[in-house]
Amino acid sequence: MKLTRTKAFKTFADPAWYDNPINMQMLGICSALAVTVQLKTAFVMTLAMTFVVSMSGLIISLMRRIIPGNIRIIVELAVIASLVILADEFLKAYFYDISKLLSVFVGLIITNCIILGRAEGFALSNPPHLALIDGLGNGVGYGSVLLSVAFIRELFGSGSIFGFSVIPESAYAAGYEDMGIMMLAPAAFIIIGLMAWVQKYLANSRKS
């Protein structure tokens, strides 16, 4: 059996590319955009988000037979909120500067629709190992969009990648200027809109 045919691979690849959580499901864009001014913050945000979505999937899937149906949302929120607190405290302890830049947006992972959506839609009805892989796939899909937006914004907004300048001094001397709009909120909306357009166009042309 080829690797790409296994159930585990499909569980990973579907959310990471085919049903990418940002473009296709339109979920979880809330906290995604505010941290995309720099690649560094976007990368840390991706790690935090992947940790929370995969661990919450694993824990909720382990408990799926003992969670009573009518209070399941509260149980899920409690699991997710505890994991977010863990991630937030970890960042404050070891990466204080970055946690200052991320400000409230790590906390807002709690209300990210992807996580509750995966807990409800996948972890409650699937075994733990698949729920963990599904969470990782969603984290990677989320991260790929986040990092591409951050790449465009940092490259054109401040002429650097991960904080290293890549635009040569001679270009600035010749009159090149960084685009101030890339640092502001509207650019993120427009970039995400254009990316959704490309992805949907490709999906449409594959169908026909």
């Binding site: 473009n23 339109m26 979920l27 979880g28 864009i29 809330c30 906290s31 995604a32 955009l33 505010a34 509260i74 929120l77 409690a78 909120a81 505890s82 977010v84 607190i85 937030d88 405290e89 400000s103 409230v104 906390g107 807002l108 709690i110 209300t111 990210n112 629709c113 509750l116 709009i181 502001l184 909120a185 509207p186 650019a187 993120a188 909306f189 427009i190 995400i192 809109g193 254009l194 959704a196 357009w197 490309v198 992805q199 949907k200 166009y201 490709l202 999906a203 449409n204 042309s205």
Partner: protein, 202 residues
């Protein structure tokens, strides 16, 4: 007084919680298809933000902030790491309580807002309002004004978006741009317009 007016104006325009901080996007994209539901949800957000932000202020400064438990003989206890889980529970409980109160006292208002209230418990704008209130170290009265102003800003943004999407129905868009793509681009243009207000100082 002037500071309060400037907090209000900033939270409605230049620091709009949706257009400058990206909070509440999920319901913004999903609900702005229809103008009546958009306005209904907008008012529900104004209402819930105005109530939950001050309530969370009281809880944070009365129980969770460093040194807040001095009255109980525990001056060095710092429970502020619990704020995330406490705030989300307070919001869920407040939404539930507001829903019951409205149901009891005003059938007309319940018919208008009732269906939107459960949606709001997981709207990031509500939790974001409370977290920004803590981060910016506001006083109680400032938190009331900030909560109300953020709600009004969100209401303005979603109403404008719903109105723009009515016009977009008749637009001939290239394949793939319809729906989510064009919504985001229009939001970006709207965010640019709202940014112009940042030059105004009191």
């Amino acid at each position: 007084m002037v500071e309060l007016v400037s907090i209000f104006l900033n939270s409605v325009f230049a620091g709009n919680i949706l257009l400058a901080y990206f909070l509440g996007m999920c319901s913004f994209v999903a609900v702005s298809k229809n103008i009546d539901t958009a306005i209904g949800l907008g008012f529900a957000v104004v209402f819930v933000l105005t109530v939950t932000t001050p309530v969370n202020w009281l809880i944070f400064h009365g129980l969770l902030a460093p040194g807040a438990l001095a009255w109980a003989g525990l001056p060095e206890v710092d429970l502020s790491f619990l704020k995330l889980i406490v705030f989300i529970s307070v919001i869920a409980a407040m939404v539930q309580a507001i829903e019951m109160i409205i149901d009891r006292f005003s059938a007309a208002l319940y018919a208008g807002l009732g269906i939107f209230l459960p949606l709001i418990a997981v709207n990031c704008a509500i939790l974001g309002g409370s977290l920004f209130m803590v981060e910016r170290e506001m006083s109680f009265i400032e938190s009331v004004v900030y909560g109300f102003g953020s709600g009004v800003g969100w209401l303005l943004a979603i109403t404008a978006m719903a109105a723009a999407r009515i016009k977009l129905r008749y637009a001939d868009l290239p394949s793939g741009l319809e729906g989510f793509g064009i919504t985001m681009i229009v939001t970006g243009l709207m965010a640019m317009a709202f940014m112009l207000f940042s030059g105004i100082t009191m």
